[in-house]
């Protein structure tokens, strides 16, 4: 962005205790760019972490609250996701306690540069886009692969588990069809052919 007239005001990146982004944080502070964390809770993968649980117990707080507080004390804007009202309320309940410097350092030390999302240096956006679209179609994305002669509209309209199982079964069954036909017709063919072959032999 060497040609940019305006310096970005914000950079939003994947950031959580296993990807602490310390270098980017220092750079951002030095240049007055606000760093913002996406997937601050690492999509729920940190809730069993012993160090975080230990610190959470010190404050009678949850691991999520400790992580979000860690963000704020580092000067990082944080945007946790939740669809449950109680969780939405709990996540924001981080303004009545302070992590000690030692606790902050213990969390900082958990960094493994580990991502749950794509690496900005190495992402194929077409592939990403496709996988994202598949993700949005959720568990039913495989229905796109169902051959056309199965009534997809019917399956989509009634996308219940039962229908999905049925569709899966139909898919799996399909390669069997030629064998079934072969098994039905081959004895007939053999039987029919037998006398003629005998005839020819004699």
């Amino acid at each position: 962005m060497k040609d940019a007239d305006i310096k970005p005001m914000v950079n939003q990146v994947e950031l959580h205790p296993l990807l602490s982004q310390q270098e980017l944080l220092s750079f951002s502070k030095e240049h007055d760019i606000q760093l913002e964390a996406w997937s601050p809770l690492m999509q729920g993968q940190l809730f069993d972490h012993p160090v975080l649980n230990d610190i959470a117990a010190n404050h009678s707080k949850s691991v999520a609250q400790v992580i979000l507080r860690w963000d704020l004390q580092r000067g990082i804007v944080t945007i946790p996701k939740s669809i449950k009202e109680q969780r939405i309320i709990d996540n924001a309940n981080v303004f009545d306690f302070t992590l000690t410097n030692e606790e902050m350092a213990r969390i900082d030390a958990l960094n493994e540069n580990r991502r749950v999302g794509p690496d900005p240096d190495n992402f194929d956006f077409v592939k990403r886009h496709r996988s994202f679209q598949n993700w949005r179609k959720g568990a039913f994305s495989f229905l796109n692969k169902v051959p056309k002669f199965i009534d997809c509209r019917r399956i989509r309209r009634r996308a219940s588990v039962q229908v999905v199982i049925k569709a899966e079964w139909e898919l799996k069954r399909m390669p069997i069809i030629p064998f079934v036909l072969l098994m039905i017709f081959s004895p007939v063919a053999l039987f029919n052919g037998q006398p003629r072959r005998l005839d020819r032999l004699h």
Binding site: P8, N11, Q12, I33, Q34, I79, I88, F132
Partner: protein
């Protein structure tokens, strides 16, 4: 820097106040799911909502915002709404069009923050020029990037 409640803000380098804490809606389904979570957030004191064109839920976010504003009596200016331009729309004209599309889905006159979602090589510079135009014309309060490792600019 005092961060002592949910509505505490940080001053961006252009002076815009951005809440330290917000609700993200990645992977939240459009429709009742996103409407109920965004409304729950605003009714419980959140002032910042982060979405993106690719999340596919801007319509629901917009509906939730308008309902929450009506129920709480808050003004639009008291909320901080972020969205992002998707990779496929990076380009000068296409980014401006994507901004308009996001605004219309959200039912908003302006966004508080508009970001380039991913640093797609060879494409994000034109998109940034578009964001600069939107910013200079006062149509967006702040602009930024997402998933950038290094940032350089003219000084």
């Amino acid at each position: 820097m005092t961060i002592n409640h949910l509505q505490s803000t940080t001053a961006l380098h252009n002076g815009v106040q951005m809440p330290w804490f917000g609700l993200g809606v990645f992977k939240v389904e459009d429709g009742s799911e996103v409407v109920s979570s965004v409304k729950a957030a605003i009714l419980n004191g959140y002032r910042s909502i982060d979405t993106a064109a690719i999340y596919g839920n801007e319509t629901g976010v917009g509906q939730a915002i308008s309902e929450a504003l009506a129920e709480t009596g808050l003004a639009r200016e008291e909320l901080f709404v972020t969205s992002k331009v998707w990779n496929a729309d990076l380009g000068y004209e296409s980014t401006i069009a994507a901004y308009e599309a996001s605004l219309s889905k959200l039912g908003l006159e302006y966004l508080d923050l508009y970001l380039i979602h991913w640093p797609v090589k060879g494409k994000y510079k034109e998109a940034w020029r578009a964001l600069e135009t939107l910013y200079k014309e006062g149509r967006v309060k702040a602009i930024g990037v997402s998933n950038f490792k290094f940032i350089t600019w003219k000084t």
